[in-house]
């Protein structure tokens, strides 16, 4: 808070422009009266001209303002029209064209905040006047500002090597700019690499993904860091310093040829919980899948006999290269890189189906998750693409597919996971194709938007798949009748006939929800962005800026931002890349000059503000005994301004003077529009200080 003595109110020549917006504003607010009033009653506040106009944002409207600035010598402009989020840039540009610093323009929203939400003409007109008085008082305190200019490092960091990250990396690298792609797992490919077919075209996932993975691996402008994680991010848009931990592979990638002999000779077999979703095995030295990029294996030290018991070394012994490529002494490495922009494409985790015990996953052998089923029907999977029961041999005769497992359920995730309906239709088709089994789909609502999706539903219907509208209540092996013995029974209300049904099946597939990564919150914090209540990364604007974030220079793509299918993921990867390329092309970036700064002579060095900034913009200069704010890191929230007990921090565009003046102006008129006070020179400092 501030107890700073304020300087006397600046003298200004202010122009007020009241927009009709056709009848949008004029239909409720008496705009002519408002303009007349402002010109007459606010003359003492510096208003030299007040006009109303049909469409202020039109070229003619803008020219009106420009002419007044030049001819009347205006030094401040107030536009009473729509929300500043719509047209602030328009009127700032008009001011700039007329030679007025664009930040000396203030917008007052009398459409979204008055005419569209109020109905009483008199009351609305009174409120519009008060809002304009607030704007007039405030604008007097505006200062001319220059945008903050930062240079852009042309290298981009992409975090996550799934299809979103792959797409983004390739787009940027193909445009001729360097990319560093960091992936946590030993290979890129992400979830898509685990899939068998993709809906609705039934393209083989590997066939369309592998070429892109190879392109990433061999691109001269892409530095691929797999089995690596970002540890720390410093800096700001244009020049981030990123610390990456490259985990020890225990394999020398310089000499390894990727022949795979070490894997063949390794005696330890481990259930592969990641790539095979727990349905298959791998060795202690492994490569997640044959087409992995890069091709080099890694040693899983938790299961490796040598690391656990000090003996074995079979992999090293059989390694055909000279020198041997297996290096047990390898250590984790820390790498520092400098980048200008960052794209986060960290993907999703699958809902843990054990959280819904009544669906039997983990207890009933033949209940599978969607990811397990992807591996089950994948030709390169543990069964070679055979759709079989957990015994590995029996083909199911009846299969139930349950939608919305962990989605659209306030007990777990209160959102639709978007892909499950189409995925379940795909499963139904694959089961039919591979086994000829009877297939039942259990759904709440069938959601098949987007190109060719509903056509796919039609096709699956025509294949004789059964559809039961009802959310499954339970999946059980507790048979009630001889007909149910030895089966898994799906109990559900068939809501279209209004009866409870028990349908015995051999296999159940749970279309599990997509969830934010378990460490999404931690990652968001590391990169200075935020997560929604559901845990997904928040975009700058849900419609108009879906891949940018509130932190300049950090972009998001793919499922990290919310559940989506492959086409949408790829589109976002490309979109994020386009945004980054645009930035790089600019070479320099102009940032909104809403920044806090420390008036060094007033700073007492109390450091109260030092821990308030989540962007690390505030630091303490031990040598000078004062606090400093890095304008490039500062995002302009103003929390430190509000906290400084000495009033030593000031914020451009949102200074105490500006806010105080606006409060005074807003309270100039009472509810009915009658003046309750004459405005006097500000003396806010007389108010009690907040303890």
């Amino acid at each position: 808070m501030s107890t700073t003595p304020l300087s006397p109110k600046p003298r200004a020549r202010i122009g007020v422009y009241v927009c009709h917006c056709g009848s949008n504003i004029a239909g409720v607010v008496d705009v002519k009266e408002v303009a007349r009033w402002a010109g007459r009653e606010l003359a003492d506040e510096g208003v030299v001209i007040a006009r109303d106009y049909q469409f202020m944002c039109s070229n003619l409207g803008q020219e009106l303002i420009e002419a007044d600035i030049k001819e009347q010598g205006l030094t401040r402009v107030v536009v009473a029209a729509c929300s500043p989020h719509l047209h602030e840039a328009t009127f700032r540009n008009a001011c700039q064209r007329a030679g007025l610093n664009p930040y000396l323009c203030e917008m007052v929203s009398i459409r979204e905040q008055v005419s569209w939400v109020h109905t009483d003409r008199e009351q609305a007109t009174a409120k519009a006047k008060a809002l304009i008085a607030g704007g007039v008082e405030r604008v007097a305190w505006h200062e001319p500002l220059e945008p903050v200019i930062v240079p852009i490092n042309p290298t981009t960091l992409v975090v996550g090597g799934g299809i979103a990250g792959i797409q983004a990396a390739l787009e940027i690298a193909d445009s001729g700019y360097p990319v560093i792609l960091v992936e946590r797992e030993p290979s890129i490919g992400g979830h898509m690499a685990q899939f068998d077919k993709t809906f609705p075209t039934l393209d083989c996932a590997a066939c369309i993904l592998t070429p892109k993975m190879v392109a990433v691996g061999s691109h001269p402008l892409i530095t691929l860091l797999t089995y690596s994680e970002v540890e720390r991010v410093d800096g700001y848009v244009g020049s981030f310093q990123v610390t990456i931990r490259k985990k020890a592979r225990y394999v020398n990638t310089e000499t390894c040829t990727g022949c795979g002999l070490c894997i063949e000779k390794c005696p330890v077999r481990v259930v592969d919980e990641v790539f095979e979703a727990g349905l298959g095995y791998r060795k202690a030295i492994y490569r997640p899948f044959p087409q992995a990029v890069p091709k080099y294996p890694v040693i899983d030290t938790e299961h490796c006999t040598y690391f656990q018991r000090g003996k074995c070394k079979a992999c090293q012994i059989f390694c055909p290269t000279q020198p041997k490529s297996i290096q047990f002494e390898q250590q984790d490495e820390r790498i520092q890189v400098e980048v200008g922009n960052i794209i986060l494409a960290t993907g999703y985790d699958l809902f843990d189906c054990r959280r819904i015990p009544q669906y039997g996953y983990g207890r009933l052998a033949n209940v599978y998750t969607s990811l397990e089923f992807e591996r089950l029907c994948n030709a390169a999977g543990p069964t070679g693409g055979e759709v079989v029961l957990r015994d590995g041999v029996t083909k199911p005769k009846t299969v139930g597919i349950i939608h919305c497992v962990g989605s659209r359920d306030r007990n777990y995730n209160n959102y639709c996971s978007v892909i499950c309906c189409m995925q379940s239709l795909k499963f139904a088709h694959l089961v039919k194709e591979r086994t000829g089994a009877e297939v039942y789909n259990f759904y709440i609502d069938m959601r098949t938007p987007f190109k060719d999706y509903d056509e796919f539903y039609q096709k699956v219907l025509a294949e004789g798949v059964h559809f039961v509208r009802g959310r499954v209540a339970e999946v059980t092996d507790a048979a009630r009748h001889p007909g149910e013995e030895g089966k898994i029974i799906i109990q559900v209300e068939d809501t279209l006939i209004g009866r409870q049904r028990r349908i015995p099946v051999d296999m159940v597939i749970l279309s599990a929800a997509l969830e934010p990564r378990r460490d999404a919150q931690e990652v968001a914090h590391k990169f200075g962005i935020a997560c929604s209540t559901n845990g997904w990364f928040i975009e700058k604007h849900p419609k108009l800026d879906p891949v940018a974030t509130m932190t300049e220079g950090i972009f998001i793509a793919g499922c990290a931002q919310g559940p989506k299918d492959i086409p949408a993921t790829v589109a976002q990867g490309a979109a994020a890349a386009a945004r980054v390329i645009g930035r790089i092309h600019q070479t320099r970036l102009a940032l909104e000059p809403i920044r806090a700064s420390v008036i060094a002579e007033r700073c007492s060095g109390c450091r109260i503000c030092n821990n308030l900034c989540p962007f690390h913009a505030i630091s303490f200069r031990e040598d000078l005994g004062v606090t400093e704010i890095n304008p490039a890191l500062c995002q302009g929230c103003g929390t430190c301004v509000a906290a400084c007990p000495a009033g030593a921090i000031t914020g451009t565009q949102f200074s105490n003077e500006q806010v105080f003046a606006q409060i005074e102006g807003l309270l100039m008129l009472d509810f009915s529009g009658k003046p309750v006070r004459r405005l006097e020179p500000l003396a806010a400092a007389a108010e009690p200080a907040f303890p």
Binding site: R408, N411, R471, V472, A473, E493, T495, G498, R499, Q500
Partner: protein, 201 residues
């Protein structure tokens, strides 16, 4: 007693009435997405003329008489499976209790084919209101003598067996401060009647 306005109930009116009759915080019935988890989970769904989900759809449609004549809530065993499984966290079991009360108030339960349930509850309540405790032998015999004179013989045999095993008293016990309990219950009934919210407390 509120006047029945069954036939004229606008769809939202009846929903509002049911919501108001369900105490214990927001019952969330208006959030139902008709997924059928309740009807799928219900152990006695087979005996119900409407599944709970259908009953909710009827409530949304304002079909007051049809709802209150239904036997659905009389077959509710209070197992709370629907309540804990409901993806919208609707207080389904509590709503079933509220519908029982509304049906009794309107006298519509007699047409539900489940007329015994309120009668059993009444017999039970008689003991509680007169003695402060329930009385199993009296409960079973009195209820069955009144409603199934033939079946009662079987019940008496069952009661005798319970008695032989020391699991039943022959006379009901009365709590000491019955006057206090009666005063409380009478006051509560008075408040409920004055409230006119269909027992929504």
């Amino acid at each position: 007693m509120a006047v029945s306005h069954a036939a004229r109930a606008a769809p939202t009116d009846f929903l509002a009435e049911v919501l108001a009759a369900t105490p214990g915080g927001d019952p969330r019935l208006d959030r139902c997405i008709q997924c059928g988890t309740c009807g799928g989970s219900c152990p006695s769904a087979a005996d119900m003329d409407h599944t709970p989900r259908q009953l909710f759809a009827l409530i949304f449609a304002g079909m007051r008489d049809e709802v209150l004549r239904s036997n659905t809530f009389w077959y509710c065993v209070s197992c709370y499976f629907c309540t804990v499984r409901c993806p919208q966290e609707v207080h389904i079991t509590d709503i079933m209790y509220a519908l029982k009360r509304l049906a009794i108030r309107e006298g519509l339960y007699r047409e539900s084919g489940a007329a015994e349930a309120p009668a059993f509850a009444e017999t039970y309540i008689d003991y509680v209101e007169n003695y402060g405790r329930s009385f199993e032998l009296g409960l079973a015999t009195r209820h069955h003598l009144r409603h199934h004179p033939l079946g009662a013989i079987k019940k008496v045999a069952f009661g005798m067996e319970l008695w032989r095993k020391g699991r039943i008293d022959l006379t009901p016990k009365r709590i000491k401060n019955m006057a206090q309990l009666s005063a409380i219950l009478n006051k509560a009934k008075e408040l409920e009647a004055a409230d006119g919210r269909g027992g929504g407390a």
